[in-house]
Structure formats: C-alpha cells, structure tokens
C-alpha cells in the first residue's frame, strides 16, 4: 500500500480552503478570486494524479475562461455592492442541513467501501498522443457533439444576454 504523500494534503487543504472562502466571503469579487484558488488547487490535484492533459485543460478552461466570465458577470450586474439584508438567504439553515446530510452519506459510502475500491499503484503510461488518438478515433462522435453543444451554447448565451430591440407595436 502506497502512503499518501504530504503534497496531497497541502493541495487538498488549498482546494477546500478556496471552496469554503468562495461560499462564505461577503464581497462577490473576493468570492470569484477564492473560486479561482479552488480551481487551481483542483488542477494541481489532477496533475498530482498523473492526468496532465486534464490538469492543463482545467487551468485553461476554468482559470482562463470561467473565472474571467464570472468576474465579468459580477461587474456587469453591479454585484460588487454589498446587499443590505445579508448575503445568506432566509432558508440558509435548511440548505446547510441538506449539504451536511449529503456529505455524511457520501463520506459513509466512501468509508464503507474503502476495502473494495481499486488500488492500482503503478503510474499509467498514457501520453497526450494517446489521448489525441482516442479523441479522433473511438470518441470522435462525442467530440463532434461537444463541438455542436459549445456552438449552440455560445449562440444561446449571446442571444439571451443581448439587448432586446424595441418591438414595433401592432
């Protein structure tokens, strides 16, 4: 059995601290920055799991695109101003109980099945070349569907967020 490396604990603490700060901080811009820290921690966890391609895709897509998109949305909706009546909704206690329950169930399932989970120790010999071959070989249809989905989502987001023209009155 391989011992868990201390780097894992550092990265896990970084990711979870970023996630907690994203949920708990008051200013929306601070929340977006904390989310970026959580995304970066996850990318480093991917790299530590020998999934280089997924790690760099995570950095490109999440830190490069999604975080910028969130900051743009915050600034466009004037979200940097603090609301007067608190940042948590009226039913925050119910949400907290549900989240704690979900975590309890998941942690129970993981800890119950810890003996039967697979424990492959060796580093998988997978290169970006293999991933590229798989993407245009076995997974070419999902790749095309994702391309279609991204096009549709881009057009849809532009249409939804576009200024509405004044309709001519009948």
């Amino acid at each position: 059995m391989r011992p868990v490396s201390p780097i894992f604990y550092i990265l896990a603490a970084l990711t979870l601290a970023g996630g907690l700060a994203a949920v708990l901080l008051k200013h929306l811009v601070h929340c977006a920055l904390a989310t970026t820290v959580a995304f970066a921690g996850l990318a480093l966890l991917f790299l530590q799991l020998d999934a280089q391609f997924a790690g760099f895709a995570q950095i490109l897509v999440y830190i490069g695109a999604v975080a910028i998109l969130i900051v743009f949305a915050i600034l466009l909706t004037r979200g940097s101003e603090l609301p007067k009546d608190g940042v948590f909704s009226r039913t925050w206690f119910v949400g907290l109980v549900i989240a704690a329950g979900v975590f309890a169930v998941l942690a129970w399932a993981v800890l119950e099945s810890v003996r039967s989970v697979p424990q492959q120790a060796g580093v998988p010999a997978v290169t970006v070349h293999d991933i590229g071959n798989a993407l245009v070989g076995r997974y070419v249809l999902p790749l095309e569907i994702v391309a279609l989905l991204l096009t549709a989502a881009t057009i849809g987001a532009v249409i939804v967020a576009m200024h509405e023209k004044e309709r001519p009155k009948p």
């Binding site: 994203a22 949920v23 995304f39 996850l42 969130i70 909704s89 925050w92 492959q120 991933i131 989905l149």
Partner: protein, 102 residues
C-alpha cells in the same frame, strides 16, 4: 488509502458547493457553487481513472474532459441568464425573483 482520500476531498468539495448553492442569495454565487460541484465530480472521475484497473482505456479521463467542456457551456449560458434577469428586474437577489410565484 490514496483513492479514499481523493474521494473524501471530492465529497467535501461537493458538500461545500451544495451549501453555497442552497444558502446564498446572489445568483452568481449559486452558479459558483454549481461549478464547484461539477469540479468535485471531475476529481472523482480522474481519481477513479488513476487508481482503476485499466487506466490505458482512458474512459475516466475522456469523461472528465467532456465534463469540463459541458461545464464551460453551462457557465456561459448560466451567466448570460443572470445578466438577462438583471437587465429585466435590476436585481440578482434570488429571494426577490418571485414573479412566477402563485
């Protein structure tokens, strides 16, 4: 047990994202919570790929890559919706978005 550690971290991150999505007032924060949940699922997929019996089949890796792409599309559409709602009602407070309430 390395895999159980990753799974526990992913479960905790999922719970944090769920708590954020359920307790915050601001719609953008709810989207951030959903992104955190999607990322936790991705961490599960990558961890199972790494410690599973056939990592050279690339199944979990491909699932995670496609999941990242779908999450990017979801973020674009979600933030576009938030901006559109802000233009109509001048708020992003979810407690004030009750126009469809009977």
């Amino acid at each position: 047990m390395p895999l159980a550690g990753y799974l526990l971290v992913a479960a905790l991150l999922f719970a944090i994202g769920l708590a954020g999505a359920l307790t915050r007032r601001n719609a953008i924060l709810v989207l951030i919570g959903i992104e955190l949940m999607l990322n936790a699922a991705n961490l599960n997929l990558i961890a199972f790929w790494r410690f599973g019996p056939h990592p050279e089949a690339l199944t979990g890796m491909m699932f995670a890559i496609f999941s990242i792409a779908v999450a990017a599309a979801e973020a674009a559409v979600g933030l576009g919706l938030v901006i559109a709602i802000h233009r109509h009602t001048n708020t992003t407070d979810l407690d004030k978005m009750n126009r469809m309430k009977g």
